[in-house]
């Protein structure tokens, strides 16, 4: 039995490309000083390489009828894995595009920033493609450690440091709990492969305390990563303190990756325990929507507001898993696509508010965006589109995401949950439109300037156009999201 074959090569290729480019960028600063654009191009080249590798894999998997498995079942490249990896690629690309100017303004332009982003994406790869506990755990930690550093990247800013420390401590704690859950799963199955664990759990009695303990610990660990209530405390601080592009990356990349992990776990090894986790997830989803939406109502810091809203979005996505039918799972996939685009877009606009000159905006406060419409009508209009989409109203992409979740709940007979979820849409509009109100009806307290760069405009154009187009013609995205069902 050989441990590494040619077919394994293809299965690993995207992660490999990312890791090679990531490490190269980390090292390169020793050799070429002050070559910022070179580093930027190198990281974009890394992403292009990843795209190429993913295309190769997509071809190999074909229509999705068959899948690539590698390393004796540790990796499985199927529609599900490919779908998520394209999302990761999209978020990294957008984040890199907007980072350059931002880091210049903050005077913290170092090559390792780009390296860490690529390495984090390399970790994400394993969360979507991994079907073995150790692989997943290593991938998760690779991603998380990169993020701990990235959140604290503004070393001279207290909030950034504080955020990194909080995120790190709580993150490590949750990883420990997750590792405990994984060890119990290993104990049950004496194997770390999903296929074996699935079988072992099915043979166990459904109320076996060890199984339930494993389920509880694993769930708690994963819920922390998606920032669902009651494990959401870190999110507002981390989002607020992190450099805004990192906030964007954290809120979409890390969240999508953690959802990939969550879905894999709950739909494969833990699927037979649905009776136990479904009520738990219902409670978590309702609490997340409640806490996220209510706390967001009174936020005046834009990034904290986005953080709380993203907690409520986690709740909506969990409802797709609660429903658990094909509509629900495809719904989560659609939701992740639109949430990624929209949240990236909204944070992009917030990132553009930062300027270098003294006395400029540094707090990302609601008053900083006040009167934006009169000076930068295009930015304000795009922000409104993002806000409408975050709220989930037509004709934007956000509505399509919500549509699937609601439909799944109705199909599976959860009318009460559906009513709660829809009413929170109306509540959420209140705080999203506080931002719109500030931009269009607020008095300008001090001149708002937009620090826009070419990269930023490209990123904004992509996310804005996609948010609107998906809302009007969602068919391609629905078909694309359909491939997540191929596992």
């Amino acid at each position: 039995m050989s441990y590494y074959t040619a077919s394994d090569n293809l299965a690993l290729l995207p992660a490999l490309v990312l890791a090679v480019f990531g490490c190269a960028i980390l090292l390169i600063e020793f050799f070429v000083k002050n070559k910022k654009t070179f580093v930027l191009s190198l990281s974009l080249a890394g992403l292009a390489g990843t795209a190429w590798a993913l295309l190769l894999q997509t071809q190999a998997v074909g229509s999705g009828a068959d899948k690539l498995t590698a390393f004796q079942g540790a990796l499985s490249i199927d529609g599900f894995a490919l779908f998520f990896n394209w999302i990761f690629l999209l978020s990294s690309a957008v984040v890199i595009l907007i980072s350059y100017r931002f880091l210049e303004i903050e005077d913290e332009h170092h090559a390792e920033y780009y390296g860490l982003i690529l390495l984090a994406q390399s970790g994400m790869y394993f969360l979507a493609a991994g079907t073995e506990l150790v692989t997943i755990f290593v991938g998760l930690e690779l991603m998380a450690i990169c993020f701990y550093v990235l959140v604290g990247f503004l070393r001279r800013e207290r909030r950034s440091n504080e955020a990194a420390m909080k995120y790190f401590l709580l993150g490590v704690f949750s990883s420990a709990i997750l590792a405990y859950g994984f060890s119990l799963l290993f104990g049950i199955a004496s194997s770390t492969r999903f296929a074996d664990i699935t079988q072992a759990i099915q043979t166990r009695s459904l109320s076996d305390p060890i199984v339930l303990l494993a389920l509880g610990a694993t769930t708690a660990g994963v819920l922390f990563k998606i920032s669902a209530v009651p494990f959401h405390m870190w999110a507002p601080d981390a989002y607020e303190g992190a450099p805004t592009p990192v906030t964007a990356y954290l809120s979409v990349g890390s969240k999508a990756a953690s959802f990939a992990l969550l879905l894999r776990l709950f739909l494969e090894p833990l699927a037979s325990l649905r009776h136990a986790w479904q009520p738990m997830l219902i409670a978590v989803a309702v609490l997340s929507m409640t806490a996220g939406n209510l706390a967001a109502l009174t936020q005046t810091n834009l990034k904290r507001l986005i953080a709380y809203s993203s907690i409520s979005h986690a709740g909506y996505m969990l409802l797709g898993l609660v429903a658990g039918n094909d509509t629900g799972i495809q719904g989560i996939a659609v939701y992740i696509v639109v949430y990624t685009l929209t949240n990236l877009g909204a944070l992009l606009v917030i990132a553009a508010l930062r300027r270098k000159d003294p006395g400029s905006v540094r707090e990302d406060d609601l008053s900083d965006i006040s009167g934006l419409a009169s000076r930068n009508p295009a930015y304000a209009a795009l922000m409104v589109i993002f806000l409408i989409s975050l709220a989930g109203l037509p004709p934007t992409a956000g509505f399509i995401g919500k549509y699937y979740i609601f439909l799944a709940l109705i199909e599976t007979g959860h009318p009460i949950l559906a009513v709660i979820a829809t009413l929170y849409v109306a509540l959420a509009v209140y705080y999203y439109f506080r931002i719109a109100k500030a931009m269009y009806m607020g008095k300008q307290e001090r001149p708002v300037f937009i620090a826009s760069s070419l990269g930023q405009r490209i990123a904004l154009g992509i996310t804005g156009a996609a948010t609107l187009l998906i809302g009007i013609y969602p068919e391609p995205v629905l078909l694309f999201a359909g491939i997540t069902l191929l596992r």
Binding site: P394, L407, I410, A418, V425, A436
Partner: protein
């Protein structure tokens, strides 16, 4: 060309909006000219709908169908019958007049203003021509967003409060309605195996009464808030009072009709058993009668001219819902005609307030008095609008309310007796308003030099006055137009 006529009517404002964005905001004159030209063109292209409409045919006309989102079965499916034809025409007429009335009222951010109005216009027409529930819902929600900004940016003193209250209140209703839509969709897919949102096909559903009830009540929440029916009317006085004149006109004349239209097009045909269940009908009728009387009484005590007109809408819309739930031919046809009438007469009343507001910047009744001597033409126009609203014979309001009351009488005499109180109340609050504002001596010095109606203002009022007399004197074409679609609805019940 003719086959895509309805799409042209629907998307012309949006196309105009695209061009408008290219006009520099500083050039306000060009912005105004262009926007008004687009609205006028929108009205003109909608005229062939009337001239080529075949009123003897059943079913929808000008139907256009295209695949849109095959994965979920949503189609781009539009078409009109007699009912929607009237609403489309009301929208294009009112849209143009509202835009014309804003010519000198809006100075700040004129470009954004007209852009939002054009977006609103497409959304409103879309609501009335969609024959696919998914498409309908898209337009139904889209209406809220421009209106939120119109109230919030160009409104009165409490505009921010009114704007968000309007938005959240009506949104809460329509998101719940979405659940009803999804229930119908899911039921159809389970029964027939194909996903569709097409209204005509959803009508073939056989659902247990309990499911039908769920659908009816979620739709009810969505539509009743839009109408608004008592007790969901509390957003209306704020929104209508704070909105700029053109916003109030479009809100009252067209947007409220989305609710009543929803009852006619969706609630009755898609949940026929639920909507004919006696206790449901009773509830609806009682709520309508409360709205008629309560709206009238509250109007009587208003100190604010605009707020008075706003509350009178609650009362008038009560007649419309009463007509719908009389569930007979007279009630339904009367209801549709009364909805058009309300669009004409309340639209005029808001425009009249707007004329005074533009000159005096106040809507308090006590700031006026004796205007008739200063502005005689204005007084005549106001009197016509008032009689039209108070259902004086020979004017449109009489035809509508008379038909509704006869429908209600057929259904239950007590309904008709109670509702007729509303007619008396309407005469009372409107005549008293006229007396306080227009008659007597001029009480305030600054009112003595107010200019009378300008040519542009005459252009705004004349079409509405003509329309009011047309319906009042010769309503036959309207009843002919409504005969078939009303018959179709009754066949479903």
């Amino acid at each position: 060309m003719t086959t895509h006529l309805l799409s042209l009517v629907l998307f012309l404002p949006l196309a105009g909006l695209a061009v408008l964005l290219a006009i520099p905001a500083e050039n306000k004159r060009l912005v105004r000219l262009w926007a008004n030209a687009v609205f006028l063109a929108g009205f003109l292209v909608s005229l062939p709908l009337v001239t080529t409409f075949d009123r003897n045919a059943t079913g929808y006309q000008f139907v256009e169908r295209a695949s849109w989102i095959p994965s979920i079965g949503a189609q781009y499916l539009i078409g009109i019958d007699g009912i929607s034809l009237l609403f489309v025409m009301l929208t294009t007429v009112i849209g143009f007049l509202a835009s014309l009335s804003s010519w000198s009222a809006i100075h700040d951010r004129a470009k954004e203003y007209y852009a939002l109005f054009l977006l609103l216009q497409t959304a409103l027409i879309g609501v009335f021509v969609s024959l696919d529930l998914f498409l309908f819902y898209l337009f139904f929600e889209l209406v809220l967003i421009p209106m939120y900004f119109i109230i919030g940016i160009w409104g009165g003193e409490r505009k921010l409060y009114a704007a968000i209250k309007f938005f959240l209140y009506t949104l809460a209703g329509s998101v719940l309605m979405l659940l009803g839509v999804l229930t119908l969709y899911y039921q159809y897919r389970t029964q027939f195996g194909v996903p569709t949102f097409e209204i005509a096909r959803l009508m073939s559903l056989k659902m247990p009464l309990i499911v039908e009830m769920a659908v009816f009540w979620t739709f009810f929440i969505g539509f009743a808030i839009k109408v608004p029916m008592f007790p969901f009317h509390t957003w209306l006085p704020d929104a209508h009072t704070e909105a700029p004149t053109a916003g109030s006109v479009v809100l009252a004349s067209v947007m409220l009709k989305m609710g009543t239209y929803g009852f006619l097009r969706f609630s009755l045909p898609l949940a026929p058993h639920a909507s004919t269940t006696p206790w449901v009908v009773h509830t609806m009728v009682v709520l309508s009668i409360i709205a008629i009387i309560y709206g009238g009484l509250v109007s009587l005590v208003q100190q604010d001219w605009k707020r008075l007109v706003a509350y009178s809408s609650v009362s008038h819309l009560g007649f419309c819902t009463l007509g719908i739930f009389a569930l007979n031919a007279n009630g339904l046809a009367g209801s549709v005609i009364q909805q058009i009438n309300h669009g004409i007469s309340t639209g005029m009343l808001f425009l009249i307030v707007g004329v005074a507001y533009e000159r005096r910047h106040s809507t308090k009744i006590r700031d006026y008095g004796g205007l008739a001597t200063v502005m005689p033409n204005y007084a005549v126009v106001f009197a016509i609008a008032l009689w039209s609203s108070a259902a004086l014979p020979l004017l449109n309001g009489f035809i509508g309310e008379f038909t509704i009351l006869s429908g209600a009488f057929e259904a239950n005499r007590i309904y008709a007796v109670l509702a007729s109180l509303g007619v008396i109340l309407a005469a009372a609050y409107l005549l008293w308003l006229y007396q306080r504002v227009m008659l007597g001596q001029v009480k305030h010095e600054e009112n003595k030099l107010l200019p009378d109606l300008s040519l542009r203002e005459w252009c705004v009022f004349l079409p509405l006055i003509a329309w009011a007399f047309w319906i009042g004197i010769y309503p036959k074409p309207y009843f002919d137009l409504l005969e078939k679609p009303v018959g179709e609805i009754l066949k479903r019940l």
